[in-house]
């Protein structure tokens, strides 16, 4: 009963604490919201809406899953070119045409599918749109003239210099200098064979037959060798270069991580309090690790790139230097956390310092070290992509180049898929190795 006088104060404290807690649990979300509101103003979100280029997003998404074939006619020379994505390396060789168009003297007919039909003549063209009518466009006295059923729908864009028609079957544009029609197809164009390859446009069944038992297309080489060669040297997708770039990225991560682990292992002993009796040396080793780690990998990359030039070795060295700092710290912590009994046991047999480290400490820390190294290997695969973009090597460079051209978005999509696949593969590989080597499953 002695506690009786305490009860009211206890109840008071409890309810006061509850009130305080409730206040906090309200204040934190409110604070977060207020901060986000401030950030929205600071980042000029309203201005962003006007700056955002949603048409770019549409182009990007379209390119991710489809490609287009350009059929162009020069209004001065009358020359006709058919090219995939309008690129020189995707141009149909003279005399070959896709089967959805016919070109006779003075008249070219392009079938866009679904009844949409475009006809080119001499400095004039017409477009049959089912359910709307025929659009006639011509170049007369230096002006582009339009004759189409009125009123003009908003998918026809007309001025004196340019008429463009956009339907869900393709796009048609007429300017003073040329007539152009785009027909869209799903998929990535010429992924395996470019148009100059004899295997281009064949069905998978035909390709298997060609590879296994049919006559040689080119008597100088077997069909399989020819196919591999044509895929490897594909000018549109550069599969050979891409494989090399992926390999370079992995190489940078592998070399950097393992070399850093090898270098920092002995250094970690210098920084561990239970092994290194000299305070000064220990302090110096730790500050070296802090310095290597503190300066960002980005700075190391820039400094190293000035000295060694661009390339995978520079990237690997940048990873090596910043990871030596990381490993030095974590390894020395692992050394400090070992069980002293085993050290004493080894010391009792008269072992010297190196033997004590080898038989007393190393077996204890090996699993921790290995796990950290494998984890960093996975994380460095990602860093190597970024470092590659700066230092000029690997898949990161190819990706940034593809992005900076701002038109080969299907290649950007391809590289993205490859990078994500590579990182996820390294993630599972390092997880599998960790389980296998450390837990012994």
């Amino acid at each position: 009963m002695t506690a009786m006088p305490m009860t009211p104060t206890l109840a008071e404290t409890v309810s006061r604490r509850f009130r305080k807690r409730r206040l906090w649990s309200m204040a934190i979300p409110l604070g977060v919201l207020a901060y986000l509101a401030y950030a929205a103003v600071a980042f000029d979100l309203t201005g962003l809406a006007s700056r955002a280029r949603l048409d770019n997003a549409a182009i990007l998404l379209g390119d991710f899953w489809s490609y287009k074939v350009h059929v162009g006619q020069d209004n001065r020379s009358g020359a006709l070119t058919v090219a995939v994505e309008g690129e020189a390396k995707g141009t149909y060789p003279a005399g070959t045409r896709p089967d959805w168009m016919t070109a006779a003297a003075g008249e070219t007919r392009i079938d866009l599918g679904g009844g949409h039909l475009v006809t080119y003549g001499d400095k004039r063209a017409s477009y049959d749109v089912p359910g709307y009518g025929t659009i006639h466009v011509a170049l007369e006295a230096g002006k582009v003239t339009l004759d189409a059923p009125q009123p003009l729908p908003d998918w026809i864009n007309a001025s004196d210099a340019r008429i463009s028609v956009t339907t869900d079957h393709g796009r048609f544009a007429f300017t003073r200098s040329k007539i152009e029609t785009f027909r869209y197809f799903p998929g990535w164009e010429l992924f395996f064979f470019t148009l100059d390859s004899p295997f281009s446009g064949k069905s998978p069944g035909d390709l298997v037959a060609l590879a296994l038992w049919e006559e040689r297309v080119d008597p100088a080489r077997s069909n399989i060798a020819g196919m591999i060669h044509d895929i490897w040297t594909n000018k549109m997708w550069r599969h050979g270069d891409v494989v090399w770039a992926l390999f370079e990225t992995l190489l940078m991560a592998f070399l950097g991580t393992f070399a850093a682990a090898l270098i920092s292992l002995p250094l970690a002993f210098l920084a561990a309090a239970n092994v290194m009796p000299l305070r000064g040396l220990r302090f110096a080793a730790r500050r070296v690790f802090d310095f290597l780690r503190g300066i960002d990998a980005l700075i190391w990359t820039i400094v190293l790139a000035r000295a060694f030039g661009p390339g995978p070795m520079t990237g690997a060295l940048a990873i090596l230097i910043s990871d030596t700092g990381t490993f030095g710290k974590t390894f020395s912590e692992a050394v400090e956390n070992v069980d002293e009994k085993q050290m004493e046991g080894v010391r009792a047999t008269g072992a010297n310092a190196a033997q004590r480290a080898r038989f007393g400490i190393l077996p204890q820390i090996a699993p921790v070290l290995l796990s950290q190294v494998l984890y960093m290997l996975e994380s460095n695969t990602r860093s190597a992509t970024v470092i590659g973009a700066i230092v000029g090597g690997g898949i990161g460079l190819m990706l940034t180049q593809a992005i900076s051209t701002q038109k080969d978005w299907e290649e950007v999509a391809y590289y993205l898929v490859l990078i994500v696949g590579m990182v996820m593969a390294m993630d599972s590989l390092s997880g599998w190795l960790r389980r296998k080597l450390i837990k012994g499953e």
Partner: protein
């Protein structure tokens, strides 16, 4: 002083292994041989790898080694000559630093919010839809796998330059990275409060909010703070590829080359000081959160 445990006879120590010592020694020998072969293979692969990397590099190692300190030397020499400018230049770049820190903070907050939801949805025993846990886990894996720089570059194309592409890019990666850690922390949460709330008819959101979040809050905040440290660096790097903040200033100054090296050093010092300060503060805060002091 006779070693009585092995009996009076001076026989060798009995062994538990069927073949006696021989089998054990043979095992050790075999392990040593395998270890040696593995070691040699590893050394060979490393040597070949470095050779290959050097061949594919623009400059080779030994000539580069002499030039290693040229660039830092040049930069530091110029900055030292103009050292009177440094404090002023550092002050000039404080707004950019604040932008970089804001990018890191906002992306950590957004990423942590998404990660929290994803983590609860993908934790066994807590998931709202137990069958979809695999889906949410894969989503986290994919978000983690895409490097921030890639997302940022694509978003810069659509949204134009500025901090927002960087925020979205870092937030996406943060959601993936934190989601995994959050989910591991949530797995260890005590399920009894959840059951108690369920028995009084609480919905899923109420159960998570009132029973799980109070348990995991210290761990989650600690992880989020650690991520904030990482994101400060990431946002500085993303600035370097074209979205705002101090990284962009650094890039401009570096591209200018000689003559603006004092600015390079000023920006670098500012960034370095900010990173060290944030690391220290967040270290202390995390220790308090986890140890509950």
């Amino acid at each position: 002083m006779v070693d009585v445990s092995f009996g009076p006879s001076p026989d060798p120590r009995p062994s538990g292994l069927p073949g006696g010592n021989h089998a054990y020694l043979a095992l050790m020998r075999r392990r040593r041989v395998y270890g040696g072969i593995l070691m040699m293979l590893f050394v060979l692969v490393m040597a070949a790898g470095w050779r290959l990397a050097e061949e594919r590099n623009a400059g080779d190692f030994l000539t580069g080694l002499h030039r290693l300190d040229d660039f830092p030397g040049e930069v530091l020499a110029e900055a030292w000559a103009k050292r009177a400018n440094l404090p002023g230049l550092m002050w000039d770049h404080v707004p950019s630093l604040i932008e970089t820190l804001n990018i890191a903070a906002v992306s950590t907050l957004l990423g942590a919010l998404v990660a929290g939801a994803l983590a609860l949805l993908s934790t066994r025993g807590l998931a709202r839809w137990p069958r979809l846990t695999v889906l949410f886990r894969r989503a986290q894996d994919a978000a983690r796998a895409i490097p921030e720089i890639v997302v940022a570059l694509v978003l810069i194309y659509i949204l134009g330059g500025g901090p927002v592409p960087a925020v979205l890019a870092i937030a996406l990666h943060t959601a993936g990275a934190l989601g995994k850690l959050f989910s591991e922390a949530a797995e260890n949460a005590d399920l009894r409060p959840v059951e108690g709330l369920a028995s009084v008819g609480a919905g899923w959101v109420q159960r998570m909010w009132l029973a799980v979040l109070p348990q995991v809050a210290p761990n989650w905040s600690s992880y989020a703070l650690l991520r904030f440290e990482i994101n400060v660096r990431a946002s500085a790097i993303l600035g370097f590829v074209g979205s705002g903040g101090i990284g962009y200033d650094l890039k401009l100054a570096m591209q200018w080359g000689g003559g603006k090296y004092d600015q390079v050093v000023a920006i670098f010092l500012l960034l370095f000081a900010a990173i060290v300060l944030i690391d220290r503060l967040s270290d202390a805060a995390r220790r308090r959160l986890v140890k509950g002091a």
